[in-house]
Every structure is written in structure tokens, then in C-alpha cells.
Amino acid sequence: MTLDNRKIKKIGIPRAISYYTNYPFYYGFFNALGVEVVLSDKTTAEIIKNGNKYVASETCLPIKVFVGHVVNLLEKGITDIFIPSIQSTGYKINNCSKIRGLPEIIRNVIDKPFNMIEPTFDKTEKLGFKQFWVESAKSLGITDKKLIKQAIESGWECYDNFRMMTESGINYTTALNNALNGICEKKNIELVKPISVVIMAHGYNLFDERISLNLIKKLEKMDIKVYTSLNIQREDAINALNELDETQYWANELDLTATAAHYLIKNKIDGIIALSAFGCGPDSLMVDEIEHHAKDFGVPLLHLNTDEHTGEAGFITRLEAFADMLLRKKRQKLKNIEPEKDDLSQTEKQKILLSVK
């Protein structure tokens, strides 16, 4: 068999787990290698049901969704699927076991024959970033070092564009579409809204519209400004964590604790919303950690747990109650600043709220 025959022309990427934060890089990299990327469909009840069929009942929702997406790709006729194992992102800064063992789970729960591209990224064992991509390219049948280097560069370009756009405040979907199309635009006008919250959640929970039940859109409809982990820079997140005297233990701690910590310290928010999937191990610790600090800062925290049965109505009620509480709290705070302007009409109060912001 010659090298050319082994070359894989099409690669499937499940729309779950690392897709949500790293997809621009994957897209840039594989496109530069000349490999077509095929995505699975967006998460639906059907996909969750399919995933549920294969894995043990105790497994957390994101993994069930991931398995569902792999099944979806197989149904589409894709036989080469990209399932990376991201073990650790720094020395002894590990991911959750289930994400580390994604290829192991998929290998053993799905019986159909397919080819898995399973590179390992493990800083603890000194399996670095470059090796990760060399390994992936090798299993695609590409060993040309120059080409791989170019592909990594174009991956970075795409990813950097994406991050630059999200950091300037463009919403996730638009930023992703722009990055994939090679557009880079900046939005410098910050909308001022009466209250603002930060959501601490894994990208794969928050940006999956089915799992998060459109949380961001719901909040924006209630006229609440939403900050997410994509809005801040990595360095800022690490600094914020250090400032709170915490050490990073989980690989995705920057998405959760550090993001919340950043906004807490900067005093930019009125409340924190934690969104986690039921039975998530790292989340149980990280939410507790930030709850502890939020109490010191006097910022309320709402912990939302989702699983495959979460009803939308209950979700909305809790969000509305939380938003009302935040608004009342803010109003009280403003009252204390200017007690003489106590009896004002609703619109005037709104104006004050806006001007203070």
C-alpha cells in the first residue's frame, strides 16, 4: 500500500466536548492539510437518546451527547472520526477522567467498525502540542513535516481570529462563522444593560443549545448582559485565579473558576450563574470553590444542574426569580447611594441604573 492510498480525504468531528472551544483550530488545521471536515448534526433529543443507548447510566450528559454524535457521524457514512484525548494542559493539571478516556469509552461501547483518530495531548507526560498534531496527521496518512507546520500555523490563525472576536464581545455563533470564513472584525461598542452576570460553565455545556436550553439567549431576552469564558484572555484568567489564592487543578478550571474570579475581582457583575451537568465531578468542586469567594464579595450565585430530562419551564422560573432578585438588590444598592431620590418613577430609576453602569 502506498502512502497516497492510505490518505484519508474526509474526517468526521463530533459536535460535542472539545468542538465548542477548539473547532476553529481543528477546521484551520485539517483544511490546510487538504482534508474535508464533516460535522455531526446539532444536538437533538434523538442524538441524546442514541447516546443513552450505548453508555452506562451513570455517565454524565456531555459524554452521552458525545456518543450520540459519534453514532450520528457513523450513520452519515463517515468512517474516520477525530476523537482526541486531552489528558492534561500543564504539569499535573489534568482533565476529568471521562474526557481523558473519551477514545477508550468510544472504542468499547460502539460495536461498528470505524477508524478512530485518537491523538493524545499530555503535558505531564511531555506529549506536547506539536506532537499531538503530528500524531493526528500521521493517522491521516500525512507525514510531510513542512505541510504539518503550515497547517498548525493556519489552525492558530483561525483560532486566534475566533478568540479575538469573542474577546471583543461578538457572540459565539457569529464569531465562529466569521472565523471559519476567514473574516476578522471587531466590535468595540459595549452595550450597557441594567444588570450583568457571568456564566461559569464548560463550553460544551454552555454553547450547546440543547444542553444549556439556550441559556444565553434567555438571559439576553431578560435584558441581562452575559459574560462567558470566551470574553476574557487566558492570562487574565490565570491572574485572577492567583489573586484569589487558588491554584489551578483542573484543565478546564480557566473556563469556570477563573472566569468567575476575573469578573468578581473586577467588580463588573451582579451575579454568577453556574451551569453544570448532573454528576459532573470537577464542577462539584469548582462551583463550591467560587461559592465560597462569592460570599466574601457579596455576590449571589445560582447553580443550575442539567440532565437529559431537564424541563424548560423550571429553568425559566429559576432564571426569572434570580434576575428579579438581582434587580431588586441593585436598586437597593442605588437607593443607599442616593437616598433623597427615593420616590422616582420606574423609567427614571432605569435611567439611574444605566447611568451608574
Binding site: 478516556g101 469509552i105 493524545t120 491554584t247
Partner: protein, 399 residues
């Protein structure tokens, strides 16, 4: 951060030691895990520190733990925290704990416990030794910090007695597992084990401790057993703490032994001690972990933390060595074991070995589990008898 700085940072990450407590005032305590208190007690007391043992894990301990910890954390943490609280109430002021960062939530235990205990208003010094970086040095440093003992003989005595006690008690446990399903007078093995537990705890001299293991073997040999009885063997696998703690696993070994099944446990504290504390140059044998990597390689290609790899590797090993069944136990929401839970059905199918999954949490009723264990016991017994009959028939045809 450059590289050396980064390393230094991670080294100091958990080393927050408090020097305000005078050495002579120190009262040491550590959480319960299996028979760890025998060895730790021998070591710490030979170095001259006072000890407070937290009471045995009971429902009350669990209640305290559940009350003071968050909802989603795993069961071992709740019990550990309860142990700390109970020990602190009994006058302890120095808490010892080992940890292994980067495995699973286990690496965060001490950090969380420290915070919670401080919130509750206790004053204490938490002494942590990290199992993943320079094992022996870390351990020695931790004990030096607690006891300030200069005398090398005391260290020798402590480690020697501690190790020998661990080996003796584990041997006694292994022999009890072997004897219990075969004993002629019910309860003999259990009584013998309890007797030796007391003897091992009370022995203090180095020379006596070295003889303990041999004496245990000789004493167990005296118990009358039925050697021809057909006894199916079961491997007990799963999470480390649950395996070693009789309260959490609801004395599953006893239940199985009384049903006439021999239990073999792959994880023993002494094996682990031997592996973890010895510098890797002196460790010539194939370690348990290496064996697991070898056997699990068809199913898993990388370690993912916790004991997942061990569980899968041992299952394959068991299937290839004529073991009749596997019982896989785990605390609720244990991350690495959930991965194992996903892998095991395929192993069971391909290697043709029955597996029973038991998930333990604070609410598990014992009756439900016993029903499942009994059904499983019946299944493997029938399977074993069937296999023996088939073998006999085959042999008869050959003749």
C-alpha cells in the same frame, strides 16, 4: 513562567506547613482507610508523637461528613472529613494525609478539607505528603515536620514495624478469604483474623514484628477446612477506598465468604506500600500496574487516572487465569470507575467472564445489594459446576 520556576511552583503548591504548634504538643490523627492505622500508628508512635484515632466509620460518621461537605463530592471524601472532625473533637491538632494530584478528585481532598475545617473554626496543622513526587523524601519530610525526631534508629524501627505489620495483616486477610468458604466450623476464620488483628496491633518490638507473618500463616493452617469443596473464586475490583473500607463496602467479603465463595482482592495496602515507597530502581518485579497495562491493552491504550486501568487489566487477567467472576464496586459518581463501567461490558462479552456492578453511596440499602450478590453467587456456582462436568466428559471421551 519558565520551566524551573514552574516546577518550583508546583512543588510548593501543596506545601503549606504550619510551624506554630510546638512539637511536644502535637497530637496526630489521620483518616481511616482499611488497616492503614496499624502501620501508621506503629510509625508515628515510634517517632514519639501522640496519636488520636478517629472512631470506626459508622452511620454517625457518615452523617457528620454529609452535613459538612458539598452534595456532588464522592463518598470517600465525606468519610475522610468526618474522620478529621471526630479526631479534632477528640483533641488532635495535626492531621496527616497523603495525596496524589492529577488522578481524580482525590487530589483536591486536602485542599477542600482544610477550607471546610477552617470554616468550622478548628485550629490544626494539615501535613500532606504528595505521593507523586520523590516518594521517600516527601514522606520522610512530612514525618520530620510532625515529630522533629533526629534518631535514625527510631525511623528504622517505625518503618520496619509498620511495614511488617502491614504485610502480616494483609496475609491474615488473604488467608481469611481463602479459609472462610472452606471452614468446617462456621466463624473460625473470622475469629482467627480478629485475634491476630489484636496481636498485630499490640506487638511493638522489631524482632517480634518480623515473625508475625510466619506466625499468622501457621495459625491459619490449624483451622480445619474442607479441601475438596468446590469453591468458585471471585475477584473484587474497583475503587481503592471502597475496597479497603469495610463500612463502605458493607463487608461484602464476609457476605461472599459465607455464601461459599472465595474472594481475591488485587489491591492490598501492603502491595501498594511496597510499590509506592520503594525507589523505582530497586523494584525489579513486574508491578501490579505494569501487569494491568499489559493485559488491558486491547481495551485501553492510556491511563486515565484513578484505578480504571487496574480494574480493566485485572478483569482480563482474571478471565485468562480461570477466575469465575468479577465484582466491581465503586462509590457513586466516581469518575474513573464510570469509564471502567463503560468498558467492562465489552470485556465481559469478549473474555467470557460474568461481572456484577455495585454502586455504593450513603443511601444504599444492604438488603438490595445482598439479593444481587446472592443471585450472582448462584450464577457463578452453577457455571463452575457445569464447566467441571464438561471437562470430565471431555476427558472421558479422550480416554
Amino acid at each position: 513562567m519558565n520551566k524551573s520556576k514552574e516546577k518550583q511552583f508546583y512543588k510548593e503548591r501543596y506545601a503549606q506547613q504550619d510551624h506554630s504548634i510546638a512539637t511536644k504538643d502535637r497530637v496526630v490523627a489521620w483518616p481511616r482507610m482499611g488497616n492503614i492505622d496499624l502501620s501508621m500508628g506503629a510509625l508515628v508512635s515510634s517517632l514519639g508523637a501522640k496519636i488520636v484515632m478517629p472512631p470506626q466509620n459508622t452511620n454517625r460518621a457518615l452523617e457528620i461528613g454529609v452535613k459538612n461537605s458539598i452534595e456532588g463530592i464522592c463518598l470517600p471524601y465525606k468519610l475522610n472529613l468526618a474522620n478529621y472532625i471526630m479526631a479534632l473533637e477528640n483533641g488532635a491538632n495535626t492531621l496527616m494525609m497523603f495525596q496524589a494530584p492529577g488522578s481524580c478528585r482525590f487530589g483536591n481532598y486536602t485542599k477542600m478539607a482544610q477550607k471546610t475545617l477552617k470554616k468550622l473554626g478548628y485550629k490544626f496543622d494539615m501535613c500532606v505528603f504528595d505521593m507523586y513526587q520523590s516518594k521517600m523524601k516527601q514522606t520522610l519530610e512530612a514525618f520530620w515536620h510532625v515529630t522533629r525526631c533526629w534518631n535514625p534508629y527510631r525511623y528504622y524501627k517505625g518503618f520496619s514495624t509498620g511495614f511488617n505489620k502491614a504485610f502480616a495483616i494483609d496475609k491474615a486477610e488473604k488467608l481469611m478469604f481463602y479459609t472462610r468458604p472452606r471452614e468446617l466450623n462456621k466463624g473460625d476464620a473470622e475469629r482467627c483474623y480478629k485475634k491476630w488483628y489484636e496481636i498485630i496491633r499490640e506487638t511493638t518490638s522489631v524482632r517480634e514484628c518480623k515473625k508475625l507473618k510466619q506466625r499468622v500463616i501457621e495459625d491459619f493452617a490449624k483451622i480445619p477446612i474442607d479441601k475438596d469443596k468446590i469453591v468458585p473464586t471471585v475477584y473484587l475490583l474497583g475503587e481503592f477506598f471502597v475496597l479497603l473500607d469495610p463500612y463502605t463496602n458493607q463487608e461484602i467479603e464476609k457476605t461472599l465468604g459465607e455464601l461459599g465463595i472465595e474472594v481475591q482482592r488485587q489491591i492490598f495496602f501492603s502491595d501498594w506500600l511496597e510499590h509506592v515507597l520503594q525507589p523505582s530502581i530497586f523494584y525489579k518485579k513486574e508491578s501490579h500496574r505494569q501487569r494491568c497495562v499489559r493485559f488491558a491493552k486491547d481495551y485501553m491504550k492510556r491511563a486515565i487516572g484513578g484505578e480504571c486501568l487496574e480494574t480493566v487489566g485485572d478483569t482480563v487477567f482474571a478471565a485468562k487465569n480461570g477466575i469465575d467472576g468479577i465484582i466491581h464496586i465503586m462509590p457513586f459518581s466516581c469518575m474513573p470507575e464510570i469509564v471502567a463501567q463503560n468498558i467492562l461490558p465489552k470485556v465481559s462479552r469478549q473474555e467470557n467472564i460474568p461481572i456484577l456492578e455495585l454502586v455504593l453511596d450513603e443511601q444504599t440499602g444492604k438488603a438490595g445489594n445482598i439479593t444481587r450478590i446472592e443471585a450472582f453467587a448462584d450464577l457463578i456456582k452453577r457455571r463452575k459446576i457445569k464447566n467441571i462436568k464438561e471437562n470430565e466428559e471431555e476427558n472421558a471421551i479422550k480416554k
